[in-house]
Each structure stands twice: as C-alpha cells, then as structure tokens.
C-alpha cells in the first residue's frame, strides 16, 4: 500500500500552535503565521518524556500510601487513603461511584505508566510493530490524562464544605499533594512525547513502497 508523502520528504514542518504547513527551505525558526517556535520533532522528546514519567512514578508511591484526607466526626478522626476511599464506597454498596474513583485515580495513572513506557521503549528500538495501534494508544493516553485530577477536586470540595469544628471536620492531607503531582507530571510526560517518532523507522525496515527514498 502506498502512503501519502511525509512532511520531511516535502521539506515541510507542522506548526504545533496554528497547524500551518511551514516551508522549511530557508530553515526558519519561527512559524511565519503565528511566530511560534518550529521544530521538526519535539525537542529532546525521549529524554523529557522519560524524566517526567520517572518523576511521576516516584510520586505515585507516597500518593497511594499517604492519607489524602482526614475525617473528624464527633471527636473521632480517621485518615483515609485513595484506596480506602474506594473500598468505603464499595462496602456501602455504591459500586458505581467506587468504580468511577477507582478508574480515575488508580487505573488511569497505571495505564499511563505502562502505555508511555511501552511507547518509549518501542520507539527507542525503532520497532515497526503495530504502528497504527500504538498511534491510537498515544491518542488514548492524551485523552484520559487529566481525569485523574478528579480525586484532588473531590477532596477540595469536601474539605471546603465540612467545617463544623468538633461536630465534623474534613481536612486535606499531604497525600493529595503527591497525587496531584502524579497527574501533572504524567500530563507533562504525555505532552513531551512526539507520536511522529512511532513512524520514524529506519528506511531499511520500511517495506519498499517509497520511490522518493530510492
């Protein structure tokens, strides 16, 4: 199957800010239309993506071990972690809410770690395996990224509401800081990854369908 020409073959470059196909004949550093800096590929994409991903992974541990909030009801207080919050809903029969929190807070960051590491490793090996599916996987990771902020916002709202001193009081705990950092760093990691690298395979690995390269 023949494929359309790529931007590098036509000496073009996509402007990520306004979407213009920029002519790279005179090696411009800025998009002629919107002045955004132009790069054929995102700068140092692999290194940055790995760095943000590992930072997020490091914060993932305290985010799940440390308590995210403290509930004081009639004098007796209890810390709760993300997982204990999910289990509480589950035990009260609210399996649907438990599932929403579990997916947003535990499954989504987990899927992002696995998916981004897999994308990084396959790109580093110049793999031609399942390129279309890996492209899809990246778009999925970008799409689900920010839903993990859910728990941070729930804790914020609940803590702002329940303020009755000795009768009942809910306070955020440091776990929520680490949890938020996991979300921010995985988002930065996904943004630093350049999906075009999935298709930048060495020419000898490509099926010889490309007359321009001959």
């Amino acid at each position: 199957m023949s494929r359309p020409p790529t931007a590098s073959e036509l000496d073009l470059c996509l402007c990520h800010s306004c979407g213009l196909a920029c002519d790279m004949h005179d090696e411009p550093h800025q998009c002629p239309r919107c002045d955004a800096p132009l790069h054929r590929r995102k700068t140092n994409s692999l290194g940055r993506t790995w760095a943000y991903l590992l930072a997020a992974l490091a914060f993932y541990v305290p985010a799940n071990v440390l308590p995210v909030m403290n509930t004081m009801m009639l004098g007796s207080g209890a810390d709760s972690t993300i997982m204990s919050g999910v289990l509480e809903f589950w035990e009260h029969g609210a399996w649907d809410i438990a599932l929403i929190i579990f997916i947003a807070s535990i499954a989504v960051p987990g899927v992002k770690f696995v998916a981004l590491s897999m994308l990084l490793i396959t790109v580093q090996r110049g793999s031609t395996w399942a390129q279309q599916q890996r492209s899809k996987l990246y778009r999925f990771v970008e799409l689900i990224g920010y839903w993990s902020m859910l728990d941070v916002l729930v804790v914020a709202l609940v803590a702002a509401l329940v303020k009755f001193q000795s009768l009942g009081d809910i306070e955020p705990r440091p776990g929520i800081l680490f949890f938020g950092l996991v979300v921010v760093f995985t988002m930065l990691s996904a943004m630093s990854f350049d999906p075009r690298m999935i298709w930048d395979t060495p020419p000898d690995k490509e099926l010889m369908d490309d007359p321009i390269q001959q």
Binding site: R3, P4, P5, T6, A7, S8, L10, L12, C13, L14, H16, S17, C18, G19, L20, A21, C22, R33, C34, D35, A36, G85, F89, H92, A94, I97, I100, I101, Q132, S135, K136, R139, Y146, W147, M149, L150, D151, V152, L153, V154, A156, L157, V158, A159, L161, V162, K163, L167, G168, P172, P174, I176, L177, G180, L181, M191, P195, R196, I198, W199
Partner: protein, 198 residues
C-alpha cells in the same frame, strides 16, 4: 505544488494531505495512522461569540454561587469553587491549590476572555490586536482547563457526603454543568479556523 495554506499535516505521523471541504458531521482521517485531520465545524463566528458570552455569564454563576450546601444537625455550610481552592491552600499542600485554581477557575476565565477578544474583532472581519499571542495562549491553556473533571468531582462529592449529612446541590453546580459542556464546544481546536480569515 499547492500553497502551504491548502496543505494539512497529520500531527500524529507527519503525512501531508490536501485540505478537503467537509459537509456536516464529516471528518477526515489520516490513512496511515488513523488520526483525525479535520472535523467539520458547524459554528459561525457570530454563534461562537454568542456562546462565549453565554459561557462567561455561566462562569460568573459557577464562581459566585455555591456549588453545593450541606446541613448537619441544624448547622449549615456552603462552598463555592474558590472556597474549595482555599481549602487546599492550608498547610504543606499549597502548590495543589494553585494547580486547582488554574484548572477550574483561571484557565477557563482566560480562555473565555481571549475567545471574546479575538471573536469580537473577527465579527468585523478584522484581526484583533495581539492576535498571534491570543491564539497561541488559547492553544497553551486548553489542556489545563479541567471543568468537566470538576463537574464529575462535584457529583462524586455529593454522593460521598450524602451518606453522612444532608446535601443540596446549588446554582453553581448547574452553571458548572452547562459551562463545562459549552467549553468543549467553543474552546476546542477548531478555533484555529480563524487563521484562515484574511
């Protein structure tokens, strides 16, 4: 070769295509990687500007009316979006308050101001002052605006508290619901079409 304005490059795999004219509900997809290249944009400048003003009013409602209120043995309390940001600002987790403030209050506010600014001038077929800067900021802000997550979060909070005490959703929650849906429609990436205007 055609001019660069008529070309479209797939951002996922770098393939180059000619731009196509789309009818309602149509989109074009990259043949190599399956990514969406273009989507039909049904909104005119006037409609988009009107929706932006609607969203701005809803933003005011969502921020100045309580999202929900609770009562426990005669005691009442209510919280706005700003109150929930403040709740995070105490102690060592202040940084998270800043992230929350940006994602649910500041980023949507700036998106709306920029939209009204560029669309207001586009109405008279002109480019606004600092058009390039505004358009680039709209691109930068988009991933950090998380109103729809906030909406789901507010609904989860209602269920979380409903077990312990009486919860009453407020006007803010209703405004937040409509605002988050509107933002998806008006602040998406098809705002880039404004570049094609003379």
């Amino acid at each position: 070769m055609s001019t660069p304005e008529q070309l479209i490059i797939c951002e996922h795999c770098d393939c180059v295509y000619q731009k196509a004219l789309l009818a309602k509900h149509q989109k074009t997809v990259c043949t190599r990687c399956g990514g969406v290249l273009q989507r039909h944009n049904g909104l005119t400048v006037e409609q988009r500007l009107a929706l932006s003003f609607t969203a701005a009013v809803l933003w005011l409602f969502a921020n100045f009316y309580p999202v929900m209120s609770i009562s426990l043995q005669g005691l009442k309390n209510s919280a706005t979006l700003w109150d929930s940001v403040l709740a995070l600002s105490q102690g060592p987790i202040t940084f998270m308050a800043m992230v929350a403030a940006i994602s649910i209050i500041i980023a949507p506010a700036f998106q709306l101001l920029l939209l009204i600014w560029v669309l207001g001038f586009a109405l008279t077929a002109r480019r606004s002052p600092a058009f390039k800067l505004c358009m680039r900021w709209l691109e930068t802000l988009r991933p950090w605006s998380m109103l729809e997550v906030c909406l789901l979060g507010a609904m989860v909070a209602v269920f979380k508290l409903a077990g312990m005490l009486d919860v009453l959703p407020g006007i803010g929650l209703l405004a937040l619901a409509v605002l988050s849906l509107l933002m998806i429609r008006i602040a998406g990436r098809d705002i880039r079409d404004l570049w094609d205007m003379p």
